[in-house]
């Protein structure tokens, strides 16, 4: 029943307690705020940094070099673009350095649109991130997966980027994280910082248990025959909703794949599904020119061109300089439920 921000917080607590996490840091990550989305409230090792993404990533790399286990945050992925060189180095240092040093860092950052964040709180980062060899990139679409992927990210001795869909951070899961109290209000009383003075507040952590979602393992969240939908992050629940509607109203069922890991991705699951359905739609909210979904499409073409029964499709964000503040911009540049539903219907009904 935790929301995604709480799930991340609990995963980080688990990391501090059981997995050797030494530092959770970034702009406004420590007390009193505990992160602009509350994802780091009450954590023992959380601290605030100067305002500088280069310092944040640099410090994380240094801490890792010296044997620490850092988790750092870029406050919004929109602000990661002054430090891509250091992302590259974090990703390539092991290869370049002939395997001398590992780089066990976790970078978390809120991703995508959907919170009326205007131009600089609506970027999608996975297209950029997928161009960073040496990194692993994950993006949960629900709280339980967020918990499981953050644990995997901490355990993995390589740099892992955890992209958190901004618009889903306050979404409650229907499932419980192992150890989480069944009552959401109780959870909130235990681990949410009070409004107002927090100087003497301390969280009461539930006895959490391990629940690791392996990197590179997608989830088949719906099964069907009319087509395959591959998505992740924010549009994923919309894909599920569209698929459920079409199943209910027209009896067309779909394989809906929640990729969860952007890199490495679960090619096996995609491949099996495409072989089965011969129809595929790839959905994400990132801008459409040189989009990671186009990479997935290329893999489909490379390996299943002759297995496809109809044209494979992508549904992606428009190639625009930004998401505008007025909702009419976002509604017309980021795939919406109606767009996804229409694309699915189109995919399922095109004559073979």
């Amino acid at each position: 029943m935790a929301n995604m921000a709480q799930a991340v917080r609990m995963a980080l607590h688990y990391g501090e307690k059981h997995l050797g996490v030494t530092d959770v840091f970034g702009e406004d990550v420590g007390p009193p705020l505990g992160g602009v989305f509350t994802a780091t409230q009450g954590l023992k090792t959380a601290w605030n940094t100067p305002l500088g993404e280069r310092g944040i990533l640099g410090a994380a790399m240094g801490i890792a070099y010296a044997g620490g286990r850092p988790v750092c945050e870029i406050q919004f992925c929109d602000y990661a673009f002054n430090v891509l060189d250091m992302f590259k180095i974090a990703g390539n240092q092991r290869w370049v350095g002939a395997g001398g040093f590992d780089m066990p860092i976790v970078v978390m950052t809120p991703n995508g649109a959907g919170i009326r964040g205007s131009v600089y709180h609506s970027h999608s980062f996975e297209g950029w991130a997928s161009r960073l060899p040496g990194w692993k990139i994950v993006m949960p679409s629900n709280a339980l997966d967020a918990y499981g992927l953050v644990l995997a990210a901490i355990k993995d001795p390589n740099p892992v980027l955890v992209l958190l869909p901004k618009a889903l951070l306050r979404q409650k899961d229907t499932r419980l994280i192992p150890g989480e109290p069944a009552d959401a209000d109780e959870l909130s009383r235990m681990i949410d910082a009070p409004v107002g003075d927090r100087a003497n507040w301390e969280p009461q952590w539930p006895e959490l248990e391990d629940h690791t979602v392996k990197i590179g393992e997608a989830a088949l969240v719906r099964e069907g025959t009319a087509g395959t939908v591959v998505s992740y992050g924010r549009p994923l629940p919309l894909c599920v909703q569209a698929a459920d509607e079409l199943a209910r109203e027209h009896g067309s069922t779909f394989d809906v794949i929640d990729l969860r890991s952007i890199f490495p991705y679960d090619w096996g699951m995609i491949s099996r599904s495409v072989l089965k359905t011969g129809r595929v739609l790839i959905v994400n909210e990132d801008t459409e020119v040189t989009n990671f979904g186009e990479h997935l499409l290329r893999r489909v073409i490379d390996e299943h061109f002759y297995d496809l029964v109809v044209r494979p499709r992508t549904l992606m964000g428009k190639h625009v300089p930004g998401i505008g503040m007025n909702q009419n911009y976002e509604l017309n540049s980021v795939p919406q439920l109606g767009d996804i539903r229409a694309a699915l219907w189109d995919l399922a009904t095109e004559a073979a």
């Binding site: 702009e27 406004d28 009193p32 705020l33 602009v36 605030n48 940094t49 100067p50 305002l51 500088g52 280069r54 310092g55 929109d78 602000y79 002054n82 009326r116 964040g117 205007s118 131009v119 600089y120 709180h121 459409e288 020119v289 428009k318 190639h319 625009v320 300089p321 930004g322 505008g324 503040m325 007025n326 009419n328 911009y329 509604l331 017309n332 540049s333």
Partner: protein, 377 residues
Amino acid sequence: MPDMNEDPPDLEDALLRRSTRTAAPAVIRSGREVMSVELALTVFRQMLRTRALEERSIKMSKSGEAYFWIGGPGEEAFNVCLGLQVHKGRGPAHDYLHLHYRNAGVMLAMGMPMIDHTRQLAMRATDTHSRGRNFVGHYSIPAWNVVPVTSVIEVQFAMAPGTALVQKRHGQKNPLEAEGITIVVGGEAGTAEGDFETCLNWSTRPDNELPVLMLVANNRYGISTDLDTVHAHRPIADRGIPYGVRNETIDGNDPVATWNAIDRAMRYCRRERKPFLLEAMVSRLHGHSSSSGAQRNWTETDPLATFEQKLIDFGAIDTATVRALKEEAKKEADDAVVRTMKEAEPTRDDVYAFTYAPSAVDAVYPNDFTGLPEARN
């Protein structure tokens, strides 16, 4: 004053308006700094207007007339004293402004009508700064050299040397137009980004010093982070030292000190064609933004209240006049909102507009962006 909204503030007007007072003193003092009462009243009136606009803006974000609010309540003294001293106009003979997102007071003091602010806040198609695309306070005014404000902290400091370079050259070629300077404003937390240093370095290349007035509005916080916890306990102004950049730290809540400090710093930049770094200690009266609740923080010094008290103490104004001015400002803000809310919003057709300037050498987008390249021949 129904025209207040549209007209640029006019010092001489203000002088006239106030000159009927008989018992009033000639100057307002603050330590060794002095300001004429006439000017003080002009500054005060603009501070009041700014505050009224900010308070109405916060209300908009809470009422659903708008969503996100960010702005500068607590920086009125600093912003107004800056705005009134800008050499306003277009092109390198005039000042360039690379602003922060808390500078409504600068714009109002320069003469921007309130509705130009509320249109952006309410995301209207009539928003000239961004066509309803950007957060409030993210101004863009070509006619006044106000280059687009961006949410990305500190990048304005990397751009400022560019405008200043053109200004310096322009002045060398046109001695009568040699006083345009570049004004760049940011918060104190942002100075931790390298761009702040870039500005210092690029403005002090030997034989290429640039007329850049670097302004840091130090409210002691970056969102929730106390400066004292992330920065050595030294003035930000000291950052000028390694480059030989003149610098000063002032009480930005004191309009008398602030006016004079900006005046001196500007004169130095204008005449010497060299940079100056001015740090103004200011308040943050409503927290960081609507994201943090925008509740009034009563522990911070209110520059407007203290100036009001000072003017009353000096006998420069009476409470009835203050009340009237406040009413007037509030009404001005309310009227702007009422008009704003009747205006159209951008539509789906606006999505791509203004991406590209027309280009005679572009075969695909001779006019503007129209979606992915299509086969057209």
